[in-house]
């Protein structure tokens, strides 16, 4: 199989879905000739034209809302928010409109839109260009929340998100864009939303993560824990909503230990939800306390030293997992 980057995988998904379905179109800031701030849509303007690769003014509330309206009228917009932090400017439209209309209008309305955005730190972009805000959206019934960590998942999940009849918040990660991996060339490789991936099988502890933290957990398991004789199972959630609890539960029943790793700050993060659900369902199977790794409850700094100190990484995952197993 050929190897491509996460960015290329996303672009392929967009391109394939735009070819298959004329109702799919893209909009967002600087996605046309510039190709998006991270280059995901580069080249698509030439292929599909300015109608379907639509540059917008800096009006998140307006163009996210317009995406919702277009979706309600039968289009399938994929809207890009340049940094996840800017999503605050469109939260009303996502929370009070997109998420609710299907339910509150008695199943009449369908809102098949994807909001692509990029979260995460690691680039020293500072407090308003580095956040991971996915937990907010998991708290709003009616939104799906997806966060792929590999090129193959990026492509397959984005295709599934575009075909989904619900609003989907699709969270990419700055540090993943350059990562390369095997991606099938078969044109219709769709990965269903709501099915976690066992990134690595193991028997001693379950590491649960998504997005960049999933990649870091994989490295900690493969390269650090493994050499210490600890067999870690890594579950990459892929999507937070819908959440694949079955895979988590089966793993925890097997390993009896779980470490949840999230990049966002600790309080109210999605790790807390997973932790609560594990203890509600398989508490008796646990041989050690449930543990969360997270960024402390602070705004992120632009300082490389401070950013590095804030965000969980491979070595901290290794340390925390080792302690859980050995103590």
């Amino acid at each position: 199989m050929r190897t491509i980057s996460y960015t290329e995988a996303l672009r392929e998904a967009l391109q394939e879905e735009m070819i298959i379905n004329p109702d799919v179109f893209l909009l967002g800031e600087d996605i046309g000739i510039y190709g998006g701030a991270f280059g995901v849509t580069r080249g698509l303007l030439d292929k599909f034209g300015a109608e379907r690769v639509r540059d917008t003014p800096i009006s998140e509330q307006g163009f996210v809302g317009a995406s919702i309206g277009a979706a309600l009228a039968g289009s399938r917009p994929v809207v890009e928010i340049m940094f996840m932090d800017f999503i605050t400017l469109a939260v009303d439209q996502m929370v009070n409109q997109a998420a609710k209309l299907h339910y509150v209008l008695g199943k009449q309305a369908r809102c098949p839109m994807v909001l692509r955005t990029v979260g995460g730190g690691g680039r020293c972009y500072g407090p308003t260009h580095s956040q991971s805000l996915e937990a907010w959206f998991t708290h709003v019934p009616g939104l799906k929340v997806v966060a792929p960590s590999t090129p193959a998942d990026a492509k397959g999940l984005l295709k599934a998100a575009i075909r989904d009849d619900n609003p989907v918040v699709f969270m990419e990660h700055k540090l993943l864009y350059g990562c390369r991996g095997e991606v099938s060339e078969a044109p219709d490789t769709v990965i269903p939303l709501g099915k976690a991936r066992i990134a690595r099988a193991g028997t001693d502890i379950t590491l649960i993560a998504w997005s960049w933290m999933s990649a870091e957990a994989g490295r900690a398991a493969e390269e650090d824990l493994n050499t210490q004789g600890i067999s870690a199972e890594v579950i990459d959630l892929r999507s937070l909503i819908p959440l694949d609890m079955d895979t988590i539960i089966a793993s925890v029943k097997k390993t009896h230990r779980a470490l949840i790793v999230q990049e966002s700050c600790r309080t109210g993060g999605f790790g807390a939800e997973i932790s609560a659900r594990i203890s509600e369902t398989v508490y008796d199977y646990l041989d050690a306390p449930l543990l969360r790794l997270a960024t402390p409850d602070i705004p992120l700094s632009a300082s490389p030293a401070l950013e590095r100190a804030a965000i969980p990484d491979r070595s901290r995952i290794f340390e925390a997992a080792r302690k859980l197993v050995e103590e």
């Binding site: 109702d23 179109f25 109608e51 379907r52 917008t56 003014p57 009006s59 509330q61 307006g62 163009f63 996210v64 809302g65 317009a66 995406s67 919702i68 309206g69 277009a70 979706a71 309600l72 009228a73 039968g74 289009s75 917009p77 009303d92 439209q93 009070n96 409109q97 609710k100 209309l101 299907h102 339910y103 509150v104 209008l105 008695g106 199943k107 009449q108 309305a109 369908r110 809102c111 098949p112 019934p141 009616g142 799906k144 009849d165 619900n166």
Partner: protein
């Protein structure tokens, strides 16, 4: 023309009935009556074609009735019953009929302005020939959604007509305390398309302006902002004692009331006399009475369905 008159009567009687049902404690929650704003809703809807999109507001029962919504199912929705347009889940502020392009009211002031804009974008891209009409109030014209949406619509020449129902008050706040220019319509100038002011209590005037705006939209010439000057006779919502305005002002606006004015036009033109007026009023009353009967007799939504329909 008599049809429009009858629709205005239904709207008026419907809203009066809803207010009474609320004060009697028969229905709960909140409601925002559009009493006095009938000429805007009926005038606007009278020029639309089948399938055109409408987005409404928190004050939306009248828009729905004027568009041809079934008063029985609208009332049932206000009652929170299973037979309502939203199966009882939306209530007064969230009812819609997607088959007729009525995309629904909205609980957020200005929340539907980008949605109408997006529906117009979709219509343009799919070349369906449909247009979108977006109702909102004077208060919503201060929201970011208004300015961002009108900017997009002007930029992309979208087939949308923005209908501002300027009833002078955003809840208790008079337009003079909230908007530093005399005409909301003038805001369209920033976005490169015409803004028109019209007497919103004059049904025929609203029609005329809307006809021109819809032709522009259908011809691909872009949006229009239509500011309809009107007045809500009742309070903002249930329980509003209207302490922020004078009874004299209200009395003045009563002399400009839209139904009375349209009736005078119809009489002058020989279309209406005492006899058919009485008949039309009786019909309107019967429609509202039947709506209440239907709503009262309808079943509640089954609590077993509580978690159904979060996702499509």
């Amino acid at each position: 023309m008599l049809n429009w008159y009858r629709t205005m009567l239904v709207m008026r009687l419907f809203e009066e009935k809803v207010e009474r049902l609320f004060s009697d404690g028969v229905i709960r929650g909140t409601t925002h009556p559009a009493t006095g704003q009938e000429a805007v809703a009926v005038g606007v809807c009278s020029v639309l074609k089948k399938g055109d999109y409408i987005t409404s507001t928190h004050r939306g029962h009248g828009h729905f009735i004027a568009r041809g919504g079934d008063p029985r199912r609208i009332m049932a929705e206000i009652f929170g019953k299973a037979t309502g347009y939203s199966r009882g889940r939306g209530g007064s502020q969230f009812m819609a009929d997607y088959r007729m392009g009525f995309l629904g009211g909205n609980g957020i002031t200005g929340g539907s302005i980008p949605i109408a804009t997006g529906a117009a974008l979709s219509a343009k891209m799919k070349d369906t020939g449909k247009i979108a009409v977006c109702f909102f109030g004077d208060g919503a014209s201060n929201q970011g959604t208004f300015h961002e949406s009108l900017n997009l619509a002007g930029l992309w020449k979208l087939p949308v007509v923005y209908v501002c129902e300027n009833n002078l008050y955003a809840m208790s706040t008079h337009v003079d305390k909230a908007i530093p220019i005399p005409y909301i319509a003038d805001r369209a100038a920033s976005y490169g398309f015409p803004g028109v002011v019209v007497d919103g209590n004059d049904l025929l005037a609203v029609r005329e302006v809307m006809q021109a705006a819809c032709i522009r939209a259908r011809n691909g010439e872009g949006p229009t902002l239509v500011e309809c000057k009107t007045y809500r006779h009742s309070g903002h919502s249930r329980g509003d004692q209207r302490i922020y305005r004078s009874r004299e002002e209200e009395a003045l606006w009563m002399t400009r009331a839209p139904i009375r004015r349209f009736r005078a036009v119809l009489i002058k033109r020989g279309a209406l006399n005492q006899e058919n007026d009485r008949h039309l009023r009786r019909e309107a009353r019967a429609i509202v009475t039947e709506a209440v009967r239907f709503a009262k007799q309808s079943p509640d939504p089954d609590p077993a369905t509580l978690e159904e329909g979060v996702f499509a």
